[in-house]
Amino acid sequence: MTTTVSTTRGGVGDSALRPDGTLKVTGEFAFSSDLYADDMLWGATLRSPHPRALIRSVDIGAALALPGVYAVLTADDVPGERRYGLEVVDQPVLAGRSVRYQGEPVAIVAADHPETARRAVARITVDYEVLAPVTDPEAALAPGAPQVHEDADDDPRAGHSEPGPDQPLGTGNLTRHVPVRRGDPAATAPVVVAGRYEIGMQDQAFLGVESGLAVPAEDGGVDLYIATQWLHVDQKQVAACLGLPADKVRLTLAGVGGAFGAREDLSMQVHASMLALRTGRPVKMVYSREESFFGHVHRHPAVLHYEHGADTDGTLVYVRARIVLDGGAYTSSTPAVVANAATLGVGPYTVPNVAIDAYGVYTNNPPCGAMRGFGAVQACFAYESQMDALAAALGMDPVELRARNALTTGGLMPTGQLVEGPAPVAELLRRVRDLPPAPAGADFLPGGVANTTRGEGVVRGVGYAIGIKNVCFSEGFDDYSTARVRLEVINGRAVALVHTAAAEVGQGLVTVQQQIARTELGVDQVTVATADTRVGSAGSSSASRQTYMTGGAVRAACRLVADRVYARAGVPEGRLRDGAVLDASGAVVASLADVVGDDPIEQTTEYRHRPTSPLDPETGQGDAHVQYAFAAHRATVDVDVELGLVKVVEIATAQDVGKAVNPQAVVGQIQGGTAQGIGLALMEEIQVVDGLVRNPSFTDYLIPTILDMPPTRVDVLELADPHSPYGLRGVGEPPTISSTPAVVAAIRAATGRPLPRVPVRPEHIVG
C-alpha cells in the first residue's frame, strides 16, 4: 500500500484552489462559444426533420444565392472518409442517401453573420421520401425487422475507441451482444423475484453548447479550437474525414462547459473544418440550446428483465437478466456501454450462477452513447430494485440482505475476474445506514413555494442503494496517457510546466496536475499548459479515468525529471522538497534552482494501467476491467402521495476513493454526481415519440435546481488501491449510479408503489 504524505502546500491530498476557479466564478473564463478570430465566418447546419427518410435531392441554389453566404456543402463535398465513429465507423459526416434520426446533419453553410447562415439553411430544399421509423428496440431485434442501416454505402468498420478492433461487430440492427455466463445458468432457488425495469433517455445537459473555431492553415491543414473530451480521437476522425494526415489537423482544447460523455463523439468538428478549408476563412460554429439536444448522444434508454433466486437466508443463488439498450441510429460507444451493463449487471454482489445477456440495438431514435455511469446506471436501477424486492419477499432488512451478499476483496465477478484491492461494499452500506436519521422536519415540504401542501398527504420514506463501476478503459484496449513535464528556473525560482492533451471538462484535472507536480518536484509554482495535440494522447476524460491515467502520466514524467535532477546533483537516492534537493537522510544538499540552472530539464512519458483482456464472446469471461469503484447512498424523501410530488430531504453517501487527491474536488464530484442521479430518478428525460424529440429545451427537459438538491452528508473512505497512482480510485461516476435507485427505493417505501421506471413522474405515484 502506497501512502503519500503531502508536505508541499497545494500538493496531493490538499484541497488546492483551481487555477480556473476565479475566472469561472467572475464570468471571465473563455468557453469555446466565446472563441473569436478576425475575419471569421459563422457556420450553421441543416438537420433532418425526419427520423427516417431517403434523400431524393438537395437543392442549395437559393442558399448560395443569398448575399453573405460563402459556402454551402453537402455529403458530396466531404473531402475524405464520409463517415466517422468512436468504436464503429458508421455515422455520416453529412447524410448522403438517407437520414436515420431526427436532427441528422444534411448540409452546412458558412456566412458572414450567424443570422445569414441560419437564413441560408432555411433556403436549402431537401426532397425526402419519408419512411416509417424503427423505434422499438425489441421489435428491431426481431427477425425480418426493417434494417436501420440497410441503405448504407458501406459496412461499418471498427473505430479508434474501446473496446477496440478485436471485438466482433454486430449484424443487422444488433450493434453488440454481450453474454455473461457463470456457474449453472439454469440454477433454481427457493425464493425468486422477477421484474421488468425501464430507464428513460437522460441527457448530459451540459451548459456549454457544442462550439468551436476552425482556422485554415498555410500548410493546407486546419487548426481547430474545440471543447471536447479526447483531443486525439477527434484528431484521428477529423483528419480521416478531411482526407488529411493527422499532423495537418491540430487541435487545441477550448474552454469546456461540461461534458459528462456528450463530447466523446464528434459534433461540429468536421463541419467547421470543411467550411474553413473551403472558404479559406476561420469558421466558428455554436449550436443553439435546442440544436444541442440533437447535436450529441444521450444516455441509452433501457428495458431490463431480471430474475433473482435466493436461499431462504437471503444468500443469492442466481441472477438471470436480459438487458436491451437502445443505441439509436449510430453506434457511438454502444458496444462498451453494453459490455458494462453485462459485466456489472449483478451489481457489487457475489453470485455463483449468472446468465446475463445485454444487447445494443440500432433504431431511428436519437443516437445514444457515453454518459456518466455508462451502462452501469441502467443495470444498477434494475439490480437494486430487485434487491429490495427480494428483501421484501424474504422479510429481510434491505441493507442486511445486501451486506450478506456483498462483494469482498478476493471475490469473483460474474466474468471470473478476481476483485483485487479494497471492496468495502458492506462497509459503505453500513456507514450510510448507521448515520443518524435525517432531521424530522425538512426545510420545506414537497412543492415548496408552490404551496401544494401543509403536510396533507406527506409520507416519509428511506431507501438504500449501492453501485459498482469500472474505472478506465476495459476489454484489452491499449489505454494510456502522455505527459510532458519541464522544470526550469524563472526569476531565480524553480518552476514546473506540465503539458498534456487531457481535457479539463470542469472536473478539476488541471488542479490535480498541478498538485502532483508540486508533490513530486517540491515546487510551488506549476503551470499547466493548454491541452493540445502537440503532445501525445491522454485518452478520454471519461470512465472516471483521468486522475488515474493523466495523473499517473504526470507523476511518471515528474519522476523522470527528478531522476535527472538527482543525477545532476550527484545524490543517488534523493528527494525534492520545498525547492531543495535532499539526500537519502533528508539533509538539504542543494537548492533546486541551482541544480537546474539555465538548463531546463524536460521529460515526456506514457503511462499505462495494467493490461486487461477481452471478454470471451460466448461466456463473457475475462479480466476485462482495471479497477472497481463503489458508492452507497441512503435517500430520505418526503412524498406527497396524493399529488405524487417528491422532495428529497437528505442524501447520505459513502464512497471509497482510494486516495482523495483533492478532497474538496472529490466532494464536489460526489455531490454533482448525486444531483445527476436525482435528476434521472425524478425528472430528467428526453421524451421521444415515433423517433421525434418532444422536449428539446430546458423549458421541458428539467434538471434539478438548487432547491431540488438536498443537504448531502458525504463520507469519503480512502482505502488505497494497490495498482493505481497514490492508491487513488476513480471518483466521478459512482455517485451517479447508486443515487437513482436509492431515491426510488425511498419513494417506494413511502408509497408502496412498484415504480419500475425512471424518471418517476407524479402520475406514476398517484397511480
Partner: protein
C-alpha cells in the same frame, strides 16, 4: 427592427396605433425568448418600461389597481396583503431574475394557458383594463382569453392595468410542477372566498386552452353563518366540481388524467386552508 421607446402612456398608445404590428416589450421574459429562438420577427418593438403610468399601483375606488408594468417582485413585496392570491402565484413564477423583470401585463399579453398570474385573477373576479387611442375599456379576466396565446387585445391596444376587487376574504393559490422551482405549471388552482357575496371564486390554470373557472362551484353552500368546519362531503364535492371544469390534455408535462386528479386535490386543500382563515377571521 425598429425600436420605439415612448415615455408616456399617450405616446405609447400613439405609437401602437401608428404601428399595429409593433410588438410591445415590458420585462422581455417572453419576448426575448421568442426573438432568440427565432419564433417571432416583429418589424418593431415598443419598449414599455419607460411608461411611468404602467408601473403605478394603488387603491382605485372599490378596486386595487395594478399597472400592467408592475413586476412580480413588487407584487410579492408590496401587495401580498391586498392581493394575496396573486402574490402567492407571483412567488411561484420562474426565478428571482424572472420575478424582477416579468410583469403582470406581460403574462396577460402572452396569454399562455400556463400563465400563473391568470387563475388568481379569475378567482378574484378581476377586470383587465385595455387602452388605445380610441379609448379605454375593461374586460373581465375570465373573458380576456380566447384561446392558447390568444386574447381580446386589439392590434392597437395595450393592457394598462388589472383591477382587483379589494380582497373581501381569504384567497389561496397552489401550483403543481415537476420540480421545486423554475417550472411551468402542470396545473394550478386559485380560490377566492367572498364572504359578502357568499361565493367561491375559482381559477384553473394549465388545464385547458385558456384559464378556466369552475362556475358550478361558485355557489357552493359553505356554512358562512356558523363558520363551522367544512364537512368532508362538501370539500370532496368542491374537488369534483373543479376537476370536472378542467379541460386538460396529455402533453410532455403531464397527462390529462393526472391534471384532473391533481386539480381535485389542490381544490380540496386550498378551500380548506381558505376556510380555516375565514374561520379564524370570524373568531
Amino acid at each position: 427592427m425598429d425600436f420605439h421607446a415612448p415615455g408616456t402612456l399617450a405616446d405609447a398608445l400613439a405609437v401602437k396605433a401608428a404601428h399595429p404590428d409593433a410588438l410591445p416589450i415590458a420585462g422581455g421574459t417572453d419576448v426575448m425568448v421568442d426573438l432568440n429562438f427565432d419564433r417571432r420577427r416583429p418589424p418593431a418593438l415598443i419598449d414599455l418600461t419607460r411608461v411611468g403610468e404602467l408601473r403605478a399601483f394603488g387603491a382605485d375606488g372599490a378596486h386595487l389597481r395594478i399597472g400592467a408594468g408592475v413586476p412580480y417582485r413588487q407584487i410579492i413585496d408590496q401587495l401580498a396583503a391586498r392581493a394575496p392570491g396573486l402574490a402567492l402565484a407571483a412567488r411561484t413564477i420562474g426565478s428571482p431574475q424572472i420575478r424582477n423583470r416579468g410583469t403582470l401585463g406581460g403574462n396577460l399579453g402572452s396569454a399562455s394557458p400556463a400563465g400563473d398570474a391568470h387563475p388568481p385573477l379569475l378567482a378574484a373576479g378581476a377586470v383587465v383594463e385595455l387602452a388605445s387611442v380610441r379609448g379605454t375599456r375593461t374586460v373581465p379576466a375570465a373573458e380576456f382569453f380566447t384561446g392558447p396565446k390568444r386574447s381580446v387585445l386589439a392590434a392597437d391596444e395595450l393592457v394598462t392595468a388589472v383591477l382587483l376587487p379589494v380582497a373581501p376574504g381569504p384567497q389561496q393559490f397552489a401550483k403543481v410542477g415537476t420540480r421545486t422551482a423554475m417550472v411551468i405549471a402542470v396545473c394550478s388552482f386559485a380560490v377566492a372566498l367572498d364572504p359578502v357575496a357568499r361565493t367561491v371564486g375559482t381559477g384553473i390554470g394549465s388545464a385547458g386552452p385558456t384559464p378556466l373557472r369552475a362556475t358550478a362551484a361558485h355557489d357552493l353552500p359553505l356554512p358562512w353563518d356558523t363558520a363551522g368546519p367544512l364537512d368532508d362531503d362538501l370539500v370532496r364535492r368542491f374537488g369534483e366540481l373543479v376537476a370536472a371544469a378542467a379541460r386538460p390534455i396529455d402533453d410532455v408535462r403531464g397527462t390529462a388524467a393526472y391534471r384532473r386528479h391533481a386539480l381535485g386535490v389542490l381544490a380540496r386543500r386550498t378551500l380548506t386552508w381558505a376556510w380555516d382563515d375565514y374561520r379564524k377571521g370570524r373568531a
